[in-house]
C-alpha cells in the first residue's frame, strides 16, 4: 500500500472532524473519498499532507510514518495536493505558476544563484522544457503567457492541476478538482485524471460529483460525520444501504 491511514482522529475542541478512520490507497489506482458536506474529507486530506496534525492516529507512506511532518517535506516525498478553493499564484503567469511548481526538480541554491550563473541558465532551460510539457499535458499550452488571475474558472482549475503535477507527485491528492465546472469541463478533467494515472501516478480524489467518481474510481471510501461507513469498489459502495441513507439519498445532487 502506498498510503495507509490508521485510526485517524481529529478533534476541534468538542467537535470530532474524524473519528478512528483507517484506510489505504493502493499504488496505481484512482481512489475516491466521498461523503456529505462536513463529513471530514478535506480534514483527512489536511492530515495526510501535513496541514493538520491528527489528535490521534498515524499516516504511513510506503511504510514510513509521515505523521506530523511539515507540508513541504511531505511534498518532497511525492505526496502533492490541490485545494478545494482555487489556489494559485495569482499575480504570476501560467508559465511562472508551473515553473514555481517545479521547485523540487531544481537544485540551484543561493550560492549557485549568485556565483554559478551557468548552472542557473542550464537549470532554467531544463525547467522551461519541463514546464512546457506540463502545460501541454493539461491543455494550457496556448495560454502560457496569460496571468493566472485572468484565466477562466475552468482554466484556473486546470492550472492548479498543472502546478500539482509539476511538483512531481507519486501520489496526487485532488480536493474537488471539478467542482463548479460545466459538464464538458468535468469530462475533460475525468479524462485528464485517467491520463495522470496512466503516467503511474496514484490519484486520491475528493469529489462531490457522483457520476465522475463512479466512472473513474477503482475504489471508493465513504465518510459520514467523521466516520468511515463504506470502503469498496464503486458498484458495491453504490448499493450499500448505509451509504444510500447517509449520502446518495439525501442531497447527492444538491452540489453541482
Amino acid at each position: 500500500m502506498t498510503l495507509e491511514a490508521r485510526d485517524l482522529t481529529v478533534r476541534f475542541g468538542g467537535v470530532a472532524a474524524l473519528t478512528g478512520v483507517s484506510f489505504a490507497v493502493a499504488p496505481g489506482t484512482v481512489t475516491s473519498l466521498i461523503g456529505p458536506n462536513g463529513a471530514g474529507k478535506t480534514t483527512a486530506f489536511n492530515v495526510i499532507t501535513g496541514f493538520q496534525r491528527p489528535t490521534q492516529g498515524t499516516v504511513h507512506h510506503d511504510g514510513l510514518a509521515i505523521t506530523g511532518w511539515r507540508p513541504h517535506r511531505i511534498a518532497a516525498r511525492g505526496l502533492v495536493r490541490t485545494f478545494q478553493k482555487t489556489s494559485l499564484f495569482p499575480g504570476l503567469t501560467v508559465r511562472e505558476n508551473v515553473l514555481t511548481g517545479l521547485h523540487l526538480r531544481g537544485r540551484v541554491g543561493v550560492t549557485a544563484a549568485l556565483l554559478a550563473r551557468g548552472r542557473v541558465r542550464d537549470e532554467e532551460r531544463q525547467l522551461g522544457v519541463e514546464a512546457d510539457r506540463v502545460m501541454d499535458f493539461v491543455g494550457l499550452g496556448t495560454r502560457r503567457g496569460e496571468a493566472a488571475a485572468a484565466l477562466s474558472y475552468g482554466e484556473q482549475r486546470l492550472l492548479e492541476l498543472a502546478v500539482g503535477l509539476a511538483a512531481g507527485p507519486r501520489l496526487l491528492l485532488l480536493d474537488e478538482p471539478a467542482s463548479g465546472m460545466t459538464a464538458s469541463e468535468k469530462m475533460a478533467v475525468a479524462a485528464l485524471i485517467g491520463r495522470i494515472r496512466e503516467h503511474g501516478i496514484t490519484v486520491f480524489l475528493v469529489e462531490h460529483d457522483m457520476r465522475l467518481v463512479m466512472g473513474i474510481s477503482d475504489r471508493v471510501l465513504v465518510l459520514n460525520y467523521g466516520r468511515l461507513i463504506a470502503d469498496g469498489d464503486p458498484a458495491t459502495v453504490q448499493r450499500d444501504p448505509e451509504v444510500i441513507r447517509a449520502y446518495l439519498g439525501a442531497g447527492a445532487h444538491a452540489h453541482p
Partner: protein, 314 residues
C-alpha cells in the same frame, strides 16, 4: 533606442561628479545611492517575499555602529568594518527570520518594529559602548591601498560618489541574480500563496530566513557606507523616519521590480531637496506630500510598473 537611452543614462551617472559642482547636490546624490541600496534590500522582503519590515533602520543602524565601533575603538581597517557591517546585521536578520516562523503580515511588522525599538534603546543607553546620544565621532574614511602606492583615502565627495555607485550596482546585481533563479521564484511563491508554496515543496521558513538575512546584510552594508561617509554615527541612524522613507521609495518606485526601488530612492531623495531650494520649508513638506499622493493615486502599483504599462500597452 533602449540601448541609446541606457548609454546616455550611464554617461550622465558616471560623469556626475564632474558637472555637479555644488557639493551639497553631490551629497544629495550620494545619499540617494545609499538609500537605493536600502530600498533594494527592503524590496527583497517587501516586494518579493511579501513581508513588510518596519524595522529596517535597525539593520542600517547596526551596520553603521558595527563599522564605526570597530574602526574607532579597535582601529580595524574600514574594509573589515564594512565586512562586519554586512555580517552582524545578517546575523540579526537570521534571528528575525527564525522568530518569524509563524508570524506573517501584521505580526511580522510588529516583530520588526519591536526589534528596531530594542536596538535603538541599546544604542542610547549602553553609554560605555556607544557613547549614548553623543554618538561616535571620528569614524575614519575608507582607504584604498594599492601595492607599491601610498594609501588613498576616500575623503572627497566625488570618490565616495563612485564607491556608493559601485555599491548600488552590486546590490542591484545581487538582487537580479537571486530573483532570476529558482530561489527568487520560491520567494515570490511565499508572497503569492504560502500554502500552495508549501504543498509543492517550498520550505517557507528556509526562504523567509534567507530573504531576511540577505535583506538585513544589504541594509547593514548601506549603514556601513553611511558611517564612513558622514564620519559620525549616533542613535539617529535608528530613526523610524529612515524606515518610512525606505518604504515610500519601494512602494512608490514599484515594489517587486528591480528598477523601482532605485528610481524611488533617487526621486524621493532629490525631490525634497529640490523643493527646499524652490520653495520655503512649509511649502516643501506640503508639496512633497501632495506629489507622493499623486504618484500613488495615478500609479498605485508604483512608478516603474506604471510607466512600463503606459509605454508598452499590451
Amino acid at each position: 533606442m533602449r540601448r541609446l537611452a541606457l548609454g546616455i543614462g550611464l554617461v550622465i551617472v558616471l560623469t556626475a561628479p564632474a558637472w555637479v559642482w555644488n557639493p551639497y547636490h553631490l551629497h544629495t546624490l550620494i545619499m540617494a545611492g545609499i538609500f537605493a541600496v536600502l530600498a533594494l534590500s527592503l524590496n527583497l522582503l517587501l516586494g518579493y517575499t511579501g513581508q513588510l519590515s518596519l524595522g529596517h533602520a535597525a539593520f542600517f543602524g547596526i551596520g553603521a555602529y558595527a563599522t564605526a565601533l570597530l574602526s574607532v575603538k579597535l582601529e580595524w581597517s574600514p574594509w573589515l568594518g564594512l565586512l562586519a557591517a554586512i555580517v552582524l546585521p545578517g546575523v540579526a536578520g537570521y534571528v528575525i527570520g527564525r522568530l518569524a516562523l509563524k508570524l506573517r503580515g501584521a505580526y511580522f511588522v510588529l516583530l520588526t518594529i519591536s526589534f528596531a525599538g530594542c536596538v535603538s534603546l541599546v544604542s542610547v543607553n549602553w553609554m560605555d559602548l556607544t557613547n549614548g546620544p553623543l554618538g561616535i565621532p571620528g569614524v575614519p574614511p575608507v582607504e584604498i591601498a594599492l601595492p607599491g602606492l601610498a594609501a588613498w583615502s576616500l575623503r572627497t565627495k566625488s570618490a565616495y560618489y563612485y564607491l556608493v555607485l559601485a555599491a548600488v550596482i552590486l546590490a542591484y546585481l545581487l538582487c537580479l541574480a537571486l530573483i532570476r533563479s529558482r530561489v527568487g521564484r520560491a520567494l515570490v511563491a511565499l508572497r503569492e500563496n504560502e500554502t500552495l508554496a508549501a504543498s509543492v515543496g517550498i520550505d517557507a521558513t528556509h526562504y523567509l530566513v534567507l530573504a531576511a538575512v540577505a535583506s538585513a546584510a544589504m541594509a547593514g552594508f548601506a549603514g556601513g557606507l553611511y558611517a564612513h561617509y558622514t564620519r559620525f554615527v549616533s542613535p539617529e541612524v535608528f530613526l523610524f523616519t529612515y524606515t518610512v522613507t525606505m518604504v515610500i521609495m519601494v512602494v512608490a518606485g514599484g515594489k517587486g521590480t528591480l528598477a523601482g526601488p532605485v528610481v524611488g530612492a533617487v526621486l524621493f531623495t532629490v525631490l525634497p531637496e529640490a523643493l527646499r531650494e524652490l520653495t520655503s520649508y512649509q511649502w516643501q513638506m506640503l508639496l512633497y506630500g501632495v506629489l507622493l499622493i499623486a504618484v500613488l493615486f495615478f500609479m498605485p502599483e508604483g512608478i516603474v510598473p506604471g510607466l512600463r504599462r503606459r509605454w508598452r500597452p499590451s
